[in-house]
């Protein structure tokens, strides 16, 4: 089990390293005259050159990359070119917001999707049709459109929730809940549709296995067969899909934050990329890659715990 964990962590580190390296060189290739953009068209060539020197833009690319990596492994991601704020600070102050959205959405997705998927696979009927319709809608309608519909109906028309803005949970838990409910719902509806379909398929597959019949032949009650044995065996494929969904969900959160004017990573990402704020973009890509890697690692560990074969291989 320990070597299993170590190998997973090793490959995660490699993944983060390659993603950030790739981003760095892509951003470098795009380049553009950042110093000029920062100082405006009226700056003299001398001030532009001085600014470029200050940002280290006059160094050769490998040197810059080395500097960045050297600082990054010590936890220093540099400062934003545009605001001068340290990148770690800019990201950390927003991370909690995005994370609470994503965590809330994935939790809601997992619970509702498991419930619907199991119901659809074991009972059929209306629950099965609901899962089918949901999966078509989830595939076909982008998350931001779902969010727009939710805002229009529940905030603008019915005034049940505040349409935009964000309240910290420490300021007012009630207002916080009101500000995150619609965004989480929007994210979860898209996620649930896919995951419920996967759970349904995995449970239906597991129910067809010979050992399920043998368990029944031993007099094990049906609810126990489904909840203890079938669900555990179906959890593997469903969890893998949930992990992929979580990656997609972070992307969804970026757009959702724009719609609801929530000050999360999404806003930073949109601003940083449209300005070409390289240190901030690098920091974001690394954060998100680390985020994804941690989630995948967690899912692998749960898989190992659920499935004795994974643990040993």
């Amino acid at each position: 089990m320990i070597s299993f964990v170590l190998r997973r962590i090793g490959s995660s580190v490699v993944l983060i390293a390659s993603v950030t390296t790739l981003t760095f060189f892509l951003l470098f290739a795009a380049g553009g005259d950042v110093a000029r953009r920062l100082l405006g068209p009226d700056a003299t060539p001398d001030t532009v050159a001085a600014k470029a020197h200050e940002l280290g833009l006059d160094q050769p690319v490998l040197h810059r990359f080395g500097d960045w990596v050297g600082a990054a492994v010590h936890g220093d991601l540099g400062r934003s070119w545009f605001s001068g704020q340290p990148v770690t600070e800019a990201i950390l102050s927003r991370l909690a917001v995005t994370f609470s959205l994503a965590a809330g959405a994935i939790l809601l997705t997992a619970v509702v999707a498991t419930f619907l998927g199991v119901l659809a696979a074991t009972r059929g009927g209306w629950s099965d049709r609901l899962v089918q319709v949901l999966s078509v809608l989830g595939h076909a309608v982008p998350t931001f459109l779902i969010a727009l519909i939710l805002v229009t109906v529940f905030a603008v028309r019915l005034h049940w929730f505040t349409p935009t803005g964000y309240t910290r949970i420490t300021d007012s838990p009630v207002l916080w809940l009101s500000s995150v409910t619609l965004p989480i719902l929007a994210l979860a509806i898209g996620g649930t549709s896919g995951v419920a379909q996967q759970v349904r398929g995995a449970v239906a597959d597991a129910l067809r296995q010979d050992y399920v019949r043998t368990l029944r032949s031993r007099g094990v009650p049906e609810t126990r067969v489904v909840l203890r044995h079938v669900l555990r065996n179906a959890a593997g494929p469903a969890l893998t899909f949930l992990g992929l969904e979580f990656v997609g969900l972070i992307g969804g959160a970026v757009i959702i934050e724009q719609i609801f004017a929530i000050p999360g990573l999404g806003q930073v990402a949109v601003n940083a990329t449209s300005q070409g704020d390289m240190p901030l973009v690098m920091g974001l890509v690394m954060t998100v890659a680390a985020f994804v890697v941690v989630v995948n690692l967690a899912i692998d560990l749960i898989q190992g715990w659920l499935n004795p074969k994974v643990r040993q291989s």
Binding site: L15, S18, V19, T23, L26, L27, A29, A30, V136, H139, A140, V141, P142, T143, F144, L145, L148, I149, T152, V156, Q209, D210, Y211, R213, T214, L215, S217, R218, G219, V220, P221, H229, R232, N233, L244, V247, G248, I250, G251, V254, I255, Q258, I259, A269, V270, T273, S274, G276, V281, L284, V285, V288, A289, V292, V293, N296, L306, N307, P308, K309
Partner: protein
């Protein structure tokens, strides 16, 4: 498994399968409706310059947010553009953008998948690694980063997006191709001298075409969504109209003109739903053709019995070694099992079976595969799938199991009726230890605590001849051999000392040497516990070895029944005689340990038969 004289019919050729797909699609109203919608949308995009009543990019300060009217059918947006005209031109941009992403993703993913899947080796390693790296990237963040690189061009962004999506194609194609690579027909093609390129186009592309088309519809949907999403964020190219850009404009004027958000939303939603429904319909159509093979349809088919058909032969000679027959334990009368086919007709697989198992008696149910013997066994325990239509009386010790409520039946199953399945490895839950699977029913039925139940399970594992019961108890099913797994299943079946044991081909899946040991074990347990056994088998050797009574089954009916000796000495039904004729006589000359399994005459099993018997519990871990 080897049966008597039935071969396998090859699958229908690809051409007729394709025709089947087309027919299925045309018969699906959702598919036709989706296709029509898509054609209309694409058509309106192509014809936009002729259909649009206004110039989509002509602003008009006097018509800002104009309500729908004769001049502006859907109103005008916040810059006074005609919404209908803009919608038509936006359709062109969004669809072309999605198509571009799709083409890039498909070309990259399919060619890499074909290469990695077909060539294997380092291409496989590299390809799979790149694919998993791309898939770990959250698409939108990568796209935002890419936009910082390539600027606000719709087309450059969609090319990057295509690259990001290519792993979807790669994975599907790679899996399909590497599966096909080892298939016989590819080897045959190579032997026949076909070049690799021709093998790929002729054989492999046929296999991957279905998943690729389905995937294409999904990727197009995602492409539309992402292009709209980026444009909605204001990250698209503001100079070209797109659905997302229109949404953005409508969103900002939501309080002034709430209806405007509807039109681009409808466009995105309708296109996505049509694409998704079409891809679902395609998937269903393709899966339909590869569904039940003709072999499964043909096997086990039994027409309902015509009236006045001759009844099966009944030997009424009493068994020689018993004077007074013991009381009836299981009495099945007129059991019928049928399934409704998709076309509404019904298929009978068990057709009026009656049989009797007395206390302490071993009753063999013989017949070739598909004769309905396993269906009979499952029907007795009511373990058939929900779709099965079952009728008849299943008397068990004074109650009719067919009438019993599920709750009470559950108390009998595993407690008074034990079941041994045919295939040992697939009948243990892979996620739980052998021990916990044994303990669960013991605690349930006998109400034992954790420790006594564990002690009982360990005793059982010892009784069925496992060399190290403690180790087996803590093992997972994949850690033990097939022979050991079958012993575990036997232990599970007898764990609560049942009165009746239903054993469905308990030795068929095992190594020949292990078969003999397992039969021996069954015989010993039967003597110790005094169980009645219904033994389902296709093997006359097993019948001769262990049974008191035998019923011969064919096409869902029992054609001959009676004491074993009587039937072996005087088989009266022609089918019984033909079964005897099919047993190779050479088996009789073998080692007495192996002799009971003479009926296992499948091709390929012959040289192994002569192997000496392994010591109990020391069989090789061959499964």
């Amino acid at each position: 498994m080897s049966e008597i004289g039935v071969g396998v019919v090859p699958d229908p050729v690809a051409a007729s399968a394709t025709r089947g797909v087309a027919r299925r699609l045309l018969g699906n109203p959702l598919a036709i409706g989706s296709a029509v919608v898509l054609v209309l949308i694409v058509g309106s995009a192509v014809l936009a310059p002729w259909l649009a009543p206004h110039d989509p990019n002509l602003p008009s300060a006097t018509d800002v947010l104009a309500a729908p009217s004769d001049r502006f059918l859907l109103g005008a947006d916040s810059s006074g553009h005609d919404i209908l005209s803009r919608l038509l031109f936006a359709t062109r941009v969004t669809l072309a953008a999605a198509a571009l992403a799709l083409v890039v993703a498909a070309v990259l993913g399919i060619s890499a998948g074909l290469m990695a899947g077909y060539a294997g080796g380092w291409t496989e390693t590299v390809g799979t690694w790149i694919a998993s790296m791309l898939m770990a990237l959250p698409g939108i963040v990568a796209l935002l980063a890419a936009r910082a690189v390539v600027g606000p061009s719709v087309w450059a962004t969609m090319i990057v997006f295509g690259v990001l999506l290519s792993p979807m194609f790669y994975r599907v194609i790679y899996t399909a191709v590497s599966g096909v690579r080892q298939e016989l027909f590819v080897d045959a093609a190579r032997v026949a001298g076909l070049s690799d390129a021709r093998i790929i186009t002729r054989h492999i592309l046929t296999v991957v075409r279905a998943p690729a088309v389905i995937l294409a519809a999904q990727v197009a949907t995602v492409g539309i969504g992402v292009q709209s999403g980026l444009a909605f964020l204001g990250l698209g190219d503001p100079t070209v109209p797109s659905w997302g850009g229109m949404l953005n404009d409508a969103f900002t004027s939501m309080y002034l003109a709430p209806l405007q958000i509807l039109w681009p939303s409808l466009a995105i939603g309708t296109t996505g739903i049509a694409l998704t429904l079409l891809s679902n319909a395609l998937r269903d159509a393709w899966e339909g053709t590869t569904g039940p093979s003709p072999r499964r349809d043909r096997r086990g088919t039994a027409r309902p019995s015509p009236a006045g058909r001759p009844a099966g032969v009944v030997h009424d000679e009493a068994p020689r070694d018993r004077e007074v027959p013991p009381a009836e334990l299981l009495g099945v009368t007129g059991l019928r099992v049928g399934y409704v086919r998709p076309d509404g007709t019904s298929r009978t697989v068990v057709d009026g079976v009656s049989l009797q198992v007395r206390r302490g008696e071993v009753h063999g149910l013989v017949g070739e595969s598909g004769s309905g013997k396993t269906q009979t066994a499952f029907a007795i325990m009511r373990l058939l799938p929900r779709e099965a239509q079952v009728s008849g009386r299943i008397g068990f010790d004074g109650t009719d199991l067919a009438e019993l409520p599920e709750r009470e039946l559950r108390r009998l199953r595993g407690h008074r009726i034990g079941y041994i399945p045919q295939e040992p490895m697939s009948n243990l839950d892979p996620s739980f230890t052998v021990g916990s699977q044994l303990v669960e029913p013991i605690r349930l039925h006998l109400g034992l605590g954790r420790a006594p139940a564990r002690a009982r399970a360990l005793d059982l594992l010892d009784r069925v001849g496992l060399p190290d019961p403690r180790r087996a108890f803590g093992s997972y099913p994949h850690e033990i051999s097939g022979g050991m797994a079958q012993r575990v299943l036997i232990a599970g079946a007898v764990s609560c000392h049942p009165d009746l044991l239903i054993a469905d081909e308990p030795t068929t899946a095992l190594d020949v040497t292990v078969q003999a040991e397992v039969l021996d074990l069954l015989r010993g347990l039967q003597a110790d516990l005094g169980m009645g056994i219904l033994l389902v088998t296709h093997n006359f050797g097993v019948v001769a070895d262990i049974c008191d009574q035998v019923s011969v089954m064919r096409s869902g009916r029992i054609v001959e029944t009676g004491p074993v000796r009587a039937i072996f000495e005087d088989p009266r039904h022609p089918y019984t005689r033909s079964l005897f004729a099919a047993v190779p006589q050479a088996g009789v000359l073998r080692d007495p340990w192996v002799m009971p399994v003479v009926g296992r005459s499948g091709p390929g099993s012959l040289p192994d038969d002569a192997r000496p018997t392994a010591p109990v519990g020391k069989e090789p871990a061959d499964v």
